[in-house]
């Protein structure tokens, strides 16, 4: 098995592409880690679906205010300049194209930008939350994910086999092995781990990787 990035390192890489002052929504769970790796001197403004703009870090344990939570129901704090609003206004920000970036997890991403990240099939209790809204409206919809599933199958595919979250919505994928853009319904390689050959990367990717320009090395610090 080849070297791969940890979740923290994937989150770090995704954080490097967020501009100072960008309005950002991070999906529940793994994507929330992106907030920890903002480059020095840059300050993104984080939006949470349940009605806060510009929330900050977690409070100290024991000092949580359970009316001050994020979409994952975790306690948060406020930065100066924060604002509260109701759910319709919150999703007006999402659907209306006011977010600069949304970063989500994925079960599968297709080369045309289709995303599947809400349902693994008809079993169990389905739950969608704000994912189907977030994939529409943000100026840039990025995915962070392991490059393959736990049993080694590709998550980047010609077309998704799981129920879709959105059609043609993803523009960039940060994986444990590479950074890949979606352009004209094709996967385009932007960066890959230098320890990995293009052939090896292609072997764990379920659709053809285009190389349109010289790709870069995916270099991430130890975290």
């Amino acid at each position: 098995m080849t070297q791969k990035l940890s979740n923290a390192q994937i989150a770090w890489r995704a954080a490097q592409d967020i501009a100072d002052g960008a309005y950002v929504n991070l999906g529940i769970g793994f994507p929330e880690m992106v907030a920890q790796y903002q480059p020095a001197g840059r300050q993104a403004i984080f939006h949470t679906e349940n009605g806060i703009l510009d929330f900050g870090e977690s409070p100290a344990k024991g000092s949580e205010d359970w009316d001050l939570i994020n979409a994952g129901k975790k306690a948060v704090t406020l930065n100066p300049g924060a604002a509260f609003f109701h759910h319709a206004d919150s999703f007006a920000m999402v659907r209306g194209g006011h977010l600069d970036v949304a970063i989500l997890g994925a079960y599968q991403v297709a080369q045309n930008g289709d995303l599947a990240n809400w349902s693994t099939g008809p079993k169990g209790v389905p739950a969608v939350g704000g994912a189907m809204d977030l994939v529409h409206g943000a100026k840039r919809v990025a995915v962070i994910t392991d490059h393959v599933t736990k049993d080694g199958k590709p998550k980047l595919l010609e077309s998704c086999t799981l129920p879709l979250t959105g059609v043609g919505c993803v523009t960039r994928i940060y994986t444990s092995l590479a950074v890949i853009d979606i352009q004209d319904s094709r996967f385009v390689l932007i960066e890959k781990l230098p320890s990995l050959s293009l052939a090896d990367l292609q072997a764990v990717t379920g659709a053809e990787l285009l190389v349109k320009a010289p790709f870069a090395d995916l270099i991430v610090p130890e975290l």
Binding site: K73, H86, H87, R95, G124, P126, M132, H136, G137, P163
Partner: protein
């Protein structure tokens, strides 16, 4: 004009079997725990109301609040976006046993459908859910070359809402992110019943700071020091109705 009701049982007395009831809150923040428990008390004592359709973002957590309402078997159908939580066992078991119906709605669409119900907009188009299972059977229309899904308004017979301060005219403020769906639900229900942590006189809330104008509110009941779902669940609380005399 005075919209206050003197106690919780009186506040929820008129909700009939089969009613559609919107319940505010996102998870535990903004959840009107005391109003929900008063409704459970009534059910335990009288067998009513039952066969409710409940609209909430979630499906309850643990064995209090909305989860307890579901556990009592009072809810026939749930309309929500995210029926998962730290402890979703009540809903999960009843759903998998086919004892409760679920209408799953994307969160932003849920919010907008409720807002539309309050604003007299019978239908609108959204990009959300286009091409997914949740748009199946829905009307699709293209605007400027892009496909959108037609969604209908959502209205309720009653809304149960938690606010922070409220005056006797029904003007309301909320506490931080406990605002969430509450102002929308106030506008979309024929009868909106609000529990307020602070009951104040008209004029005590600055007109600039009113979040829900009183026109959207029918009943106000004062519940000082309300319980918080998260705190109750961390204490493993269970609610199964007040002890009946």
């Amino acid at each position: 004009m005075d919209k206050t009701v003197s106690n919780l049982p009186a506040a929820v007395a008129a909700i009939p079997d089969g009613a559609t009831v919107m319940i505010g809150g996102f998870g535990g923040s903004g959840a009107p725990i005391e109003l929900i428990h008063a409704l459970i008390d009534r059910f335990v004592a009288t067998g009513h109301p039952k066969d409710l359709t409940v609209v909430n973002n979630n499906a309850g957590n643990g064995h209090i609040g909305l989860a307890a309402l579901i556990e009592q078997g009072m809810v026939r159908k749930l309309i929500c976006s995210f029926p998962r939580s730290a402890d979703p066992v009540v809903f999960t078991e009843m759903y998998l046993a086919g004892k409760i119906e679920l209408e799953l709605v994307p969160q932003g669409t849920l919010a907008e459908r409720i807002r539309a119900g309050g604003a007299g907009i019978p239908a609108f188009y959204t990009p959300t859910a286009y091409g997914t299972d949740l748009a199946k059977g829905k009307k699709i229309e293209e605007f400027d070359g892009r496909p959108y899904v037609q969604e209908r308004w959502l209205k309720a017979d009653f809304a149960l809402v938690k606010a922070h301060a409220g005056d006797t005219h029904g003007n309301l403020t909320y506490n931080k992110a406990a605002r969430n769906f509450n102002p929308l639900m106030c506008s979309a229900a024929a009868v909106t019943i609000v529990q307020v942590s602070e009951l104040v006189a008209p004029g005590a809330i600055d007109p600039e700071h009113v979040i829900t104008p009183g026109i959207f509110v029918q009943s106000v009941v004062h519940v000082p020091n309300p319980q918080q779902e998260e705190t109750l669940n961390r204490a493993n609380a269970v609610y199964s109705g007040a002890v009946q005399p």
